[in-house]
Amino acid sequence: MLKKTTIDKLPELAACLMEKGTLVAPVKEAGGFNFRAITDAAQVDLIFHNTILSPKTVFFPQTEDFVRYSVYQPILEAKPVEPEIRPTFLFGVRPCDVKSFEIMDIHFTRTGVPDPYWRKRRDATIIFGFAFDTSEEADPAEFYHTLGIGAADPDGSDVFMLRRDDVLFLKAVSPRGENLLGGLAGLTDAAPDERKYFDDYIAQGHDYKTRYTCVDAEAIAKEFEAIFHNTDFWTKVSNACLSCGICTFVCPTCYCFDICDETQFGQGVRRRVWDACMFTDFTLEASGHNPRTQVYQRLRQKICHKYSFHIRKYGPISCVGCGRCTRYCPVNIDIFSIVEQAVQAKWYKRM
């Protein structure tokens, strides 16, 4: 089912979705675009390249309250916080970011003890993927092509969208998407030549070149294992790192969190908040022992986790090449070039 509407009718489509649940879509803000819960249908803006923060915020918010307690009251009075989870439409997600959900699903719900918060939010959300504009030159930070992700991959989306000038095409990908699209007012059926245009665009998405290097998951995992203890290499690549952690916060596949109790005037909340392996105290134990006191050890942890440990534990590389870490790094550390260097790291081993 391929439907279409026009960009100027986007507010109508947004209003229609807002009637059915929460609409989360790209919104233009002072520093750039971000996914926000829409309160005014006119806010939705699809003239964007990608958002600053990844859409993982929808399933894994920056803070998640677990329990409310009072330090003056017995433990039995503490109340678990019921998260407010409504049917949600996550609108305008780029293919590489859609891929990140699948990677995060493995960690949060498909292995070990399932995380109830991630699962409930994920189950309640319908994803509208949105193809990159392949008529533009690729963003210099991005490298999703290296990871086998096309600029217009509909996989993982419920509905996949494509913009052609002033027309927005919407195709149902999953049964959930099919159900939804069938019942949305204001959409018209696409003509046969438009269907051909849509299919061709998706097929050609794989030919769209971002930065590229030949990476095989198993091989790169072993390469990083081999250079893990090569301090020269890690010191060199992490020389400029400030340990600020921005790369992890903007990353769609970083999931580390802290659980902390915040108490004010006796009333408190136990909540989980994003944390980052880039911070000194991340692994600091109460005894004073800290296995990662050096910047290079922490950058090494982050990169090896994504390109080595994750592969051995879960299968896929834990990176989708969205380029956010490179784009927002204040000292221009580029994960792609570190991966490239690791491939050639045998030269460093001889040094």
Binding site: Y69, G112, V113, P116, E225, I259, F282, T283, E285
Partner: protein
Amino acid sequence: MSENNPYIPMPVEISKIIDEVDTHDIKTFRFTFVNKDDEQKFVYLPGQFAELSIYGKGESPIGIASAPTDAGYVEFTVQRAGAILPGLVTSALHDMDEGGRIGLRGPLGHSWPIEFLEKKNIVVVGGGFAFTTLRSLVKYMLHKDNRSRFGDITVIYGARTPGLLCYKDELAAWEKRSDIKTIITVDKGNETWTGREGFVPAVCKDVAPSPENAVAVICGPPVMIKFTLPVFFELGFSKENILTSLEMRMKCGIGKCGRCNVGYKYVCSDGPVFSLAELEDLPRDF
């Protein structure tokens, strides 16, 4: 959402506090479950741990010191942490009295591999208060229903001084039994100490347990482990038959928060028990 939510602790009540050492900073806390359902669900084996949870302070992952054969309660031996950082949870717990209530999340992690240990001779080596999950293992193996499942049991346990030995009454009882060989050592004795003196690795070398059909289960401070592992390796124990338990800073305890990640393992959900062979497969990053 609170049903089966792994992040929400269950309430437990302190029914007994035992002051273990003469420096009074290590105590064993016995907890009973406030809800009987929770007690039914808390099924564990020696070597597993749990998060002790105090609202307003936080959570601490602590090895379970009691044995599954101890019905009706669960025990944790806790040191008041704070040499470098204030140990918020452990300090608050040490300041509590019997009857006080805290939260408990668990049991977490993998136990000592009981099925693997069956029919083998077991050498238990412990140092300081890291003996807790080993005490659980020894109590479990010595239980009348379990003793016949295991071969010879040797316990080598050391502390810096006689006053720093934990579970003194139990050690005395084990020394009197014929179905367990108990060797207690201290780094430095005092005027009343009549037992053995010497560091744990040296005592292990001296006792020289046979590697024949034997597994060494070792837990202690890093420096003790560092020097004890090679002793057993030299005695002829294979790397698969030398077991230890790792510690890393933890938060969730269920392999989600990423904090205790070492290589492709999470210490909480893939460990904390590892064989020497498994440890050598991990990067030296802990």
